[in-house]
Amino acid sequence: MVYASLLSNRYLTTRVIPLIAVLAVALNVALVVIVVSVMTGFLDMLRNSGRTLMGDVVVSHEIVGIPHYQRFLEILAETDGVTAASPVIETFGLVRMPYGREGESRVEPVQVWGIDPRTLAEVTGYTEAIYWKAPDPDRLAGMAEDDPRREAASDRLDEAMSLNDEGAAPAMVLGIEISPFNRRTRDGSYRPEPPAAWMPLHDVTLSLVPVSSGGRISEPREGRFQIANEFQSKVYQVDSQRVMIGLAEAQRLLRMAEGPLYDPNGELDEDGRPKRIGTSPARATTILVRGVDGMAPAEIKMRVATAYDRFLAEVRDDPEAKVKPPSFPDIQTWEERLRDLIAPVEKERDLMNVLFSIIYIVSAGLVLSIFWAIVHEKSRDIGILRAVGASRLGVLWIFLRWGLVLGVIGAFVGLGIGALVVDNINAIHDAMGDPAPGWSVAVAAALAAAALAATIVAAVRGSLMHGLVWSLTTVLLGLVAFGLSRHEGAVMWDPSVYYFDRIPSRVDLWRAGLTMIGAVVFSLLGAAIPAAKAADVDPVRALRYE
């Protein structure tokens, strides 16, 4: 229907008011693209961090631990699809920090990971997370002049990769956010302030509470550790709570190392001491497993579960092994592990989508009312079209197509705006965190002055409408200039709330596409009723009078 295309194109280019609908649709799409992209990016970051923090699959048996875990590791090493596995002891403890008022010291509750750094580095991003290391030329290029990492030097730093486990001076690695003296700067790097508070120069005391394989708590035990280094996983909750020590050291403090096993029935031997009936095996609470790249986590999980069954059977058949591993440890993919974190965000994102659909209804209403007025105004033209043989369907299509084009333009403009904002969201956020620069105030003020001049011109010419429009613009720009001059900076993305130190900045194209389709559909729906009214126009009535 050539005439319908011709007319709807012509209406599109000759009328300004419907462009308001385009603007509404565009802003709506931009809003959804920004919010949903940030939320999806946030979820992606959670997922990625999950993998770099704990590999693909986690086998754990909290507190009591998994005895004979070394055998399980051997079986895992032979399992297809598993590339690495690392034993960990997860527990909680208290660290007496090297700072605080004289005579007293600060005690921080921390999450303690007893790790084997070498295998942990194979499973997770442990090596990359170590913060203080002698920078290579590549990294140097990206560092600020006064980044302390340029100078960072301590004999201890490399101990992060050994933790001096079973050595004379056991070492600890702290999350970078634990020390309140680590100041985070705008470029994301940390500066110890004062420099003397640089953690790798200090020692700490760690207290842990051992729990026997039977689940009984015994006396807390203390150990002295050198701080070898700090790590940054980029997940705030981890960086602000977790410390790493050697696995053997953790086992020693928690009495989870290999040792004599006494008769649990309390029978005494000839010397009147508890009767030793064998060896209590070393235990680890958690095994982190990394699978082949690209294999689905669920598939890796299945293979790990099979491996665990083999391990169980092997230990059961071993008469020497008096302590048996748990039959049903938690075997979870990282996704399942982070379920508590991920699920609410996913729900929120869906909720957002629903809420924004309501805004779509508003923009559909806008299209509807604008089109309604236009169809009313154009009813004579519709009569003419009918008189020269246009069908009702053709008339309907003129307005539907117009609404469609408005929706499509709005959707793409919105995608453009949204993508621009999402791409630069961190820069925008940083800029908002600063007082507004002088030039922005000057520009806004100059624009306000120009609008004022236009107001005066309109007043002189006696145009009420232009005068009103320009005076409103003057007031608006004046408010913007005033607001900018008073703006002192605001931080909306607080890493302690959102886990990550940067706002995700990748457009979620799939959901952006959905929202664009939604925008087009709602524009069409808004246009449909006026279009149907147009098709219903009685040509005789429409043509009767001038």
Binding site: Y3, L385, G389, A390, L543
Partner: protein
């Protein structure tokens, strides 16, 4: 009325009735109006204001439907009341051409596009590319003939009344209809301009176009082959 010829007239109204419903009251406008237009014949229809001339013209052109019942409009012997929507649209597009007192051009389209409009109706974009230039030259030939060669790209509002009416006639003739239905085509023009428009219609009539022209003005009606009167909802011949 019939002069003995056996071929059916080109267009005829037979006992057409039209009643408007105004709330509960019925307003009968036409009750048994009959007329015949032979091929290439020019008819004038006169009558007092409100006598139903425009209504009759709209019914003849398939824009309005007559009351159901005995009366009907036939084109070449076929009742247009039996046409479906599609055929009726096509009838308005191809068979008849409307000219109105107030020109009724589309303000967003140029003169050329206005004249081409009936040519665009019924065309699908796929075949459009090949037909486009043929239609454009056909429309511009018509406009040229009407002395509007220099106005093709103008908007209707930039034209005088007489020029606008010529564009409207070009539009009505675009698809080479058999009958032109003109409702007071000179009613809004001064007599000199109106005369020019009538000359133009006379020229088309000479080329074989059938015309039904509604007018209030007896001197204008004279230009037609025959003049009919609409009185009390019926057509009476004035001879």
């Amino acid at each position: 009325m019939s002069d003995g010829s056996r071929t059916p007239p080109l267009l005829e109204a037979v006992e057409v009735r039209k009643t408007y419903q105004l709330g509960a009251t019925e307003v009968p406008v036409l009750h048994g109006a009959s007329l015949e237009v032979r091929g290439g014949e020019w008819l004038s229809v006169m009558g007092s204001s409100g006598s139903g001339k425009s209504t009759l013209l709209h019914i003849l052109g398939g824009l309005d439907r007559a009351d159901r019942g005995r009366g009907e409009v036939r084109f070449e012997g076929a009742s247009i009341a039996r046409f479906g929507n599609r055929d009726l649209d096509r009838y308005r597009n191809r068979t008849v051409g409307f000219v109105f007192q107030f020109y009724h051009l589309l303000p967003e389209l140029s003169v050329l596009e206005n004249a081409m409009l009936p040519g665009l109706v019924g065309r699908v974009p796929f075949a459009w590319r090949q037909e486009r230039s043929a239609l454009m030259s056909q429309a511009s030939d018509l406009l040229e003939r009407f002395g509007l060669a220099h106005r093709l790209r103008h908007r209707p509002r930039e034209l005088s009344g007489g020029e606008r009416q010529r564009v409207a006639i070009a539009r009505a003739l675009m698809n080479r209809p058999r009958v032109l239905l003109a409702d007071e085509p000179t009613g809004n023009l001064d007599s000199r301009t109106g005369g020019e428009i009538l000359d133009l219609l006379a020229e088309e009539h000479r080329r074989g176009l059938g015309i039904v022209m509604v007018t209030h003005d007896a001197s204008i009606a004279e230009r037609a082959d025959r003049t009919l009167w609409l009185r009390d909802g019926r057509v009476v011949e004035d001879s």
